[in-house]
Symmetry: C2
Subunit: 231 residues, 2 copies
DNA sequence: GAAACTTAATCGTCATACTTTTGCTGCCCG
DNA sequence: CGGGCAGCAAAAGTATGACGATTAAGTTTC
């Protein structure tokens, strides 16, 4: 997942700084300056900046430097960008955007999964739903989070659509983010757990409509909770 | 949009080659070899490979080289990856994935837009709907395509959700792709045009439900047409 | 036959020199 | 006094040689 090496360290510093606004939009970064600041060679700086450029967070021009682009240009689907934004100042905006995306995508994925899931997928979903129920009762928030992520990822994967499947990590980031930043009830709500179970059962039974409805209830609930907490 | 310079040229060659399978998954690319093949320096090769790495299309390891990762690892939301795939062998799979994504996202975006669109947005949507009607009648496929893209992008943007907004380019790529590769009726269907108009009107009127329904009909129709054509 | 050691291949990083582009300054002419 | 044009210089872009670090694979030894 992580980009490694020295360029990775540069990125891990610059990315969050830009995402949080600590380095504001419009700032011009000069290569030489970065070399000095991080005590690395030109090669390393260039590679890091190139990656930021491929995320459309900066734009390099000769004789000028690398300019931080407006947020609207950033590749908001890039996993790294999402993580950086979640860690910084516009965590709220990022969580809201992701919340809406989930409302759109996850119910659709659940419906597809009810039709397309393999037997293995169905078995896995059942198992995860059970795990979820157990850990919720034990109020073990960390493992509950892990299973919650696993569950949603599994549904997305079982949909058979590669783009949905890839949102698994993204959803994971959201769930982790809101747990880590105390935007979640400390005890998973009973009805939410029941709904997860309902999704799993519906998918196993091939009942697309129920799966979609239950999943929509889950993500809508999450979005409402989020909106309530953020105000 | 494009990444520029020599690394850009390398990328424009390697990316499509990998996406099309011409360079199969598992292939190991050595830096020296690439230097020779493209007659560029290590600096350039390294930057290009780094970008491929950030898209998770390859993974570099010391003493080994850069291995082409399985397709399931690729960052399928990266605009470049999408373009490359659309141009190559798995155009079909890519179009199907994107089709499902559209079905999930665009109706939701239309509903949001009906609530959140600014006056400017509404005016623009109306205008675009009119343009669409006119160019459809004239059967001018290229300008029709342009307006179609503009319309869908405008709806996504008007939703007020940055992630939806960013899918505008992606949807544009889909529409362009299917037009360029003759996966579309040569005359835009009348009812489709009428539906676009309906979406615009509903959004202007603040009628979220109608907007969502009309948009869903549009994208579901597109998906069905696609499925029919691909078989 | 397995474990430890050696080797060599290749990436990763650095330092430096050269090339190319381009914003800016200031001159010249209208 | 103002506008265009030329030359300058600053910064990114590219090339290259050297060295370090890592690790797969082969080799030796017990």
């Amino acid at each position: 997942m992580e980009i490694q090496g020295l360029p990775g360290r540069l990125l891990a510093d610059l990315g969050p700084a830009i995402a949080s606004g600590e380095i504001p939009v419009g700032t011009v970064l000069r290569a030489e300056e970065l070399e000095a600041r991080y005590a690395v060679s030109r090669t390393v700086v260039r590679e890091a900046v190139r990656i930021l450029e491929s995320m459309r967070m900066v734009e390099s021009r000769r004789r000028v430097g690398s300019t931080v682009l407006p947020r609207s240009d950033w590749d908001v689907f890039d996993p790294l960008v999402i993580r950086w934004r979640l860690a910084g100042a516009d965590r709220g905006a990022q969580l809201r955007s992701l919340g809406s995306l989930r409302v759109a995508v996850e119910p659709a994925a659940a419906a597809l999964a009810a039709r397309a899931a393999s037997d293995d997928d169905r078995r896995e979903l059942s198992a995860l739903a059970v795990e979820l129920t157990v850990t919720a009762r034990a109020a073990d928030l960390r493992t509950f989070l892990r299973h919650d992520i696993a569950f949603h990822s599994a549904v997305l994967r079982a949909s058979g659509n590669e783009m949905f499947a890839h949102l698994g990590d993204t959803v994971g980031a959201v769930l982790t983010g809101r747990t880590e930043h105390d935007l979640m009830p400390h005890q998973p709500a009973d009805y939410a757990v029941r709904l997860h179970r309902e999704v799993a059962d519906a998918i196993c039974a091939g009942d697309a409509e129920s799966a979609e409805r239950a999943m929509r209830t889950i993500v809508l609930g999450a979005l409402e909770e989020l909106d309530a907490t953020l105000d």
